[in-house]
Symmetry: D3
Subunit: 262 residues, 6 copies
């Protein structure tokens, strides 16, 4: 099985330590026969915190997903909580997984009420909208998506590659404890990168609470792996009625040409 992890940004050498650590964190979780390739976007606005900017970036992500399917991948992983999950799923014929949906579904089977702690105010909006669209409000706490403050930046992220305990974990834990007070019994890390870093550092539970801090990325990737296995062995991928039915390819390509995507 070949899986493609699509990064939401262009390649960025300054973050090379992150890419290495991410690889080291997630690859061992996969089955023996599962190949994983990380791909960056050829073009991207690179983490502009804005609904419209993310909307634009989603075009790059869907294009990368289409390319991945063409290149023979059996499953595609959208490696960011800002994702065009429904759009990608509509136009692809292989399983598409996202950090957001797959980790939330996993959380439903691990606890009663989830909360997501993310890394910027704009992202809280995007994730909460997803959670509502997934119909999962009743399985999450009030104000189910909250952000660390100050927001994350490149410094915090690279610092966490070295050691998340120094700066990132205290910031996350303060928010997480508020979530627990409001009824959360499982916390999802609302950023595709911090989750694996936390797990590698051994931080997998809010201390003394019994509340897991889920490495959403790796868990979600594992779910995609099984979705892909189901597709390959059982032939079950998605409904092709209404929402997820792919449009005729020529019509779709016509739209793509309007943005010079092909």
């Amino acid at each position: 099985m070949k899986l493609c992890w699509i990064h939401p940004t262009t390649a960025n050498d300054a973050l090379a330590p992150l890419w290495e650590k991410l690889d080291a964190a997630v690859r061992p979780a996969l089955a023996a026969g599962t190949e994983l390739e990380f791909r960056f976007l050829p073009k991207s606005g690179n983490f502009v915190r804005s609904a419209y900017a993310e909307h634009i970036n989603s075009v790059h992500i869907v294009e990368a997903a289409l390319k991945a399917e063409e290149d023979g991948f059996d499953g595609v992983f959208l490696g960011c909580w800002n994702d065009p999950l429904w759009e990608a799923r509509e136009v692809l014929s292989v399983p598409v997984g996202s950090v957001s949906e797959q980790s939330m579904l996993a959380a439903l089977a691990m606890g009663k009420r989830l909360a997501v702690v993310t890394v910027s105010q704009k992202t809280t909006i995007a994730i909460e909208n997803d959670l509502l669209a997934y119909g999962l409000r009743d399985r999450a706490i009030v104000r189910p998506v909250r952000t660390i403050m100050p927001e994350s930046d490149a410094g915090l992220l690279l610092g966490a590659v070295a050691d998340p305990h120094a700066a990132f974990i205290p910031r996350l834990e303060e928010v997480a404890r508020g979530c627990i007070a409001d009824g959360a019994d499982i916390i999802l890390v609302g950023c595709a990168y911090y989750g694996p870093l936390l797990r590698l550092s051994g931080y997998t539970e809010v201390p003394g609470t019994g509340v897991p801090v889920m490495d959403s990325s790796t868990v979600a990737l594992k779910y995609l792996e099984t979705m892909t296995d189901i597709a390959m062995k059982l032939g079950a991928v998605k409904s092709t009625r209404l929402q997820l039915r792919a449009p005729p390819r020529e019509a779709l390509d016509n739209a793509r040409r309007s943005l010079s995507l092909i």
Copy 2:
């Protein structure tokens, strides 16, 4: 006050009779001092029924909205039920109205439970997702968005410019009566063009039921007109906290450049 109505397609001379009749239908509804300009998109996939194709088209629409604001319009109207309302509202500083949101809000003040009758299966999905995101499920019937069948095409549309009673109205009315049986007391026409055509033809109620068939386009445009008046006279446009707060322009433009939009 200057309003800009943004069409979701490029100009299409074959539909010239439609554009003329649409103008004739909506312009008289505006206040004396309100100027209205219709604008087509410079590029578009033109009505590809697909979530991803509409996602792409939304980029063209937001760009046209940004251009309209730059050109001095006081309010921007997204003239299609497939719209990037939240994204446009985020990045603009003037009021943005949509057929969908504004006509649904108007319907809330005209009845108890609404239904939308639209013109293709894919559109039912897009509109229902909007309705859910607006939080209006409890004011709509079960399966609140339904489509005529067979779906609309250019022939049906041009026929309706001439006379909607011949082919379009029977198709719509069959669905509308099913909605009424399920509890609807107001029907919204789920296409920006058919609504004004129906009204011009005198068809404004499902016969014998007391249930209005709303010309959603014109009603929504009137709501945008007052939103714009409120902005100009009272200074109230939108919250600038979280969801609708515009990102720094340079960061946004960086994203736009990734698609060669600027």
Copy 3:
């Protein structure tokens, strides 16, 4: 167009400075051709904080609304958050607007989650019941209607006519900041009088938050103005099926006679 603003009380000379300032605040917001007349109730319990007392007062308000329609007004505005909106809409043939419904609908297009800050504990109940009946729970924060404490009285109100910054604004802002902490991105002033006073004084946002403090009265009146324009130009007023269908007039008058209203 002639609009009638119905006060929820009898005339009260002691509040003359309020009536003058209210007029000065809202009239300039209307279109050139819109005439506005304020009317007091001939009889009223005058702000008794009680569901049953408000129920009684609603009779006076509906009667005044019926009278306004008879007198040729094109639209009727119920100028208090305690209003008999559905009852008035049922029996009138012209558009009826309320501070509550119209300002909440406007808020839906200006933000994501609203909160109402009102001026007495009893009013929180009435407004929250309205919000729930409008089906807008999902667009409001938890405990979406909250009151200043101590509650408003004539002294506070007259003081705010002179300068709301002295006493009213600090009381409101404390509550508003709690609402923002719970997720509100737009605040509605839950009293028909304080809203215009705040706006006139220049207070239109919770400082430093980006959260508008909406002058609900004026915004709602503007929405009624466009509803009335739609009625006059497009003929669309309301559904006449079920809930909003007027009863036969003679039967209705029979009921009215039981209270010696006619």
Copy 4:
């Protein structure tokens, strides 16, 4: 214990057979020591199917409820599905029961999903609004309140006093079977008079379905009886915080004087 059943109309000799049969139906259901008095309203519009007319009638009902408490009744029963339950409960100190609320609560303990079959279109609206305000939507079927057609009139009612099987039951049963098909497992008779008549006639289940047809009036009266017993023996009547806290009597009377009620 003394209970007062308040009719929603003035006395009407033409319906004397109904009043006798109603008395014969409900009185034996009460405990040995429970006294029951039926009272008619001194004034009423008498069954005008209209929200505003019912709003007016509710004033007469609350006044009758206040009078009943003054006269020493220990509990007050609002004998119509159109009732001012919350308003009466606010201003009285003794328990107030309604056909609607008490029979729905009883139904929650007898089945899984209820439906109400009522006798006019306008009443469906009133009852559904109550059901929503009680927060019971999830325990009822879709379109939970439905009406017989043609609607009830005096002839049907008097006919049912003689024999409900001839005309009323077939009309009700047709609707009830539709409710069962939509998931109802208990049917409430949405009229205070038909329920006891049905039960007296031996019709207590939709034949062959296992679905009870509840005599809502008698069941609700029994619930009020126990609420009153709880008040008398345990002292527990209602919360006096916020919604149900009675206003100061002098202020309330001021409002009542505005309608010459006292």
Copy 5:
């Protein structure tokens, strides 16, 4: 009428003072002709705080309920918030009441938004699940079931038999005040024993708030009394469609034999 109150534990002489006081508290609330018998379980795990342990204990409770019906009781009361209400109701033909359901229904008629204060963390889960299954979320506050901390134990309980003001009430009141701050206007005591003890001690309201502290056990028992009276006089017990329809007895007994219950 003969009612059977089923304790959720085996007899325990160490708690004899509790059993005596409980009897003294609830018996006087019943009607003259109502006989009440308390029964302990012959076997039980006795208050193991665990979903599976309670599931096991529920078997003992249903068996005791079946036995009570065989022994001629007219109504059965499940005397613990951990109860197999739906299962018992399915297999019995006489009314079954629970502290949980009956007291919540009673609370709906006494206030607007309820909260339950219980005595252990595990119980909060069980009760909240019941509340959700009853469909009453909208009538309860956020996090509607909360626990005293430290949790209750035998010492606290026996202490409360002597005087609940010393230790139990302060612990409960702290939680109750938090509930009121979150909007509760009625508090249910989430333990079948503490409720009667509180009432006997004169503690029936959170001081100074107008918020009743309901003795859920006695109120619920009164509701069962009237349910049983309704069954005996009107013949109405439950729907026998789907959920509450009893299985064929021989098939059921086959299942019971698998656990050597018969």
Copy 6:
């Protein structure tokens, strides 16, 4: 990895063809290194359609799950839609999967609105209660769980082992088409045995609709496989706060001894 599939019944030689075919259907779907053992219950009521009977059977299932964990299995699969999922998950330390929860979660990622077609009326209740407890109502159609009629029996089941097209599929398809008309875009087979049989026979979609008919058993088992892999590789099993926290073993065993389970 060793997985244990727990049947909800005792072994039954009459169904030997079913057990063989089931094994043949699901085993090939697992990863190379996954061992699967089917276990029957030592005691069971064997498919009594009753909530209480299933409650009793759930005791046998949890006991079998505890035994499986003791015997070294890494994950436990509850092989029936009637399952004690939460109770088993509470007391086990290894992942527990169910047909119901895992297949519904999988369906969320394959479509928009699911429906379950099950094989008896009683089972519709059990599954719908689960669906509601999972918080997934908004992702399912109205009346989301429906049954074939006549209900399934041993003859139908054995017939389907031979060829499901003869009798079972027509019965299922009639119901499934009703679900699709009500908005379902994915159908789950609500019986652990028919799903694999359908898939083996090549029936995986309602013909001509694009709507998958999901073999819920195999899909759910695959999800358990990945949950177990996540547990083994990442250490993430469940929250140990509140609901899923295991009780002290001695206390639990005390409860189990009350039913002579140990």
